[in-house]
């Protein structure tokens, strides 16, 4: 995944979660929907944040097979 894509997706997830927070505070959406958005959003946010931050994408290698 390109870093730019990861950044955009991260922003989308953050905006959706923030929107859910605001809407739940205002009482437009029920509390459980807000929490459900966060359950799906938090892991995506963490992973996309990492994919945006990471140094570079390496070439796929075989797993570690011992020293």
């Amino acid at each position: 995944m390109k870093k730019k894509t990861a950044f955009r997706l991260m922003v989308v997830v953050a905006v959706v979660s923030g929107l859910a927070l605001v809407l739940a505070r205002a009482g437009t959406i029920p509390e459980w929907l807000y929490l459900a958005v966060l359950v799906a959003g938090f892991p995506l946010f963490v992973v996309f944040l990492g994919l945006w931050w990471m140094a570079r994408e390496g070439d796929a290698d075989i797993p570690f097979m011992g020293y």
Binding site: L21, L38, P43, L44, W53, A55, G58, A60, I62
Partner: protein, 280 residues
């Protein structure tokens, strides 16, 4: 909820750091600083990352998301006073996530870690025992009801100490370098997380922080009841310190011994709950 969620993750990582530091001091090593685990989580997200050539890509990435997702859900269930059964279920399903971590990469070390995590499934039954002991006493499995019950008639810790011990052992078996931590022992490199490096490991660290916070908060909500927030944090640190003493002083058991001891504990706890059900 968002700020509390982020706080819980960071504080859980801090607790793991305190745990590590305490173990080091007990063993007369200087040890890393207490915020080491938070630094770890950050450091791993800056590392270069890829999916191993032999891995099942979708599963390899999805287990990271599922790992964080289920503990986020557990956190919300706990905070909103939902059913204790759901937290029990999520705790057991963490096994499957570990299994997925291990098997999805194709690495033999990961596979051993994953298989070990499935073999030690017996370690979850004490949790079931403490859940049922709590249900016998309070007549409900809603955490809000359990807290209300304790506000009325005192902490359950004094009423059913053995059930509290069962949950304590369950928490112990999930802590790094505990006697039961066979899934990540050193002879299989890092166990199930061997191949999850970089960003994936950062996700796993996030999950671990949240998991630690949720497990300790469950213990406090179910056996101590409502206490002020600062009290909760201090009590968590106390529990972690006590866990650190166990982890620092006990060697890691071999897989066979670990499973045997956990099964024996389970047997004792089952007899205890039958006794409670019949005469309690």
């Amino acid at each position: 909820m968002i700020p509390y969620l982020l706080f819980a993750t960071a504080f859980g990582l801090l607790l793991l750091g305190i745990h590590r530091k305490m173990i080091a001091r007990i063993q007369r090593r200087p040890g890393p600083p207490v915020w080491q685990e938070i630094l770890h989580a950050l450091k791993f997200s800056f590392k270069s990352t890829w999916v191993p050539a032999t891995a099942s890509e979708v599963l390899f990435v999805s287990v990271v998301l599922i790992a964080i997702g289920i503990w986020t859900a557990a956190f919300f269930v706990l905070v909103t006073g939902g059913s204790l059964l759901i937290i029990f279920a999520i705790y057991m399903l963490h096994k499957i996530v570990e299994h997925g971590f291990g098997l999805s990469s194709g690495s033999p070390y990961g596979k051993f870690g994953g298989v070990r995590s499935v073999i030690s499934a017996a370690s979850e039954i004490p949790l079931f025992v403490s859940v049922s002991a709590v249900a016998i006493f309070t007549g409900s499995l809603q955490i809000s009801d359990i807290i209300a019950y304790q506000a009325e008639s005192g902490p359950l810790f004094f009423a059913i100490p053995l059930a509290a011990l069962a949950l304590y052992l369950v928490i112990l078996s999930k802590f790094p370098s505990s006697p039961f931590a066979i899934v990540e022992s050193k002879e299989i490199v890092s166990g199930y997380k061997t191949e999850h490096f970089g960003v994936w490991r950062a996700g796993l660290e996030t999950c671990n922080g949240l998991k630690t916070y949720v497990l300790l908060l469950t213990f406090l909500s179910v056996f101590v009841g409502a206490i002020p927030f600062i009290g909760v944090l201090l009590a968590m640190i106390l529990i972690v310190v006590s866990l650190a003493f166990v982890c620092a002083l006990c060697p890691m058991l071999s897989p066979f011994d670990s499973v045997t001891i956990q099964t024996i504990i389970t047997g004792i706890m089952l007899i205890y709950v039958l006794y409670l059900g019949a005469f309690g």
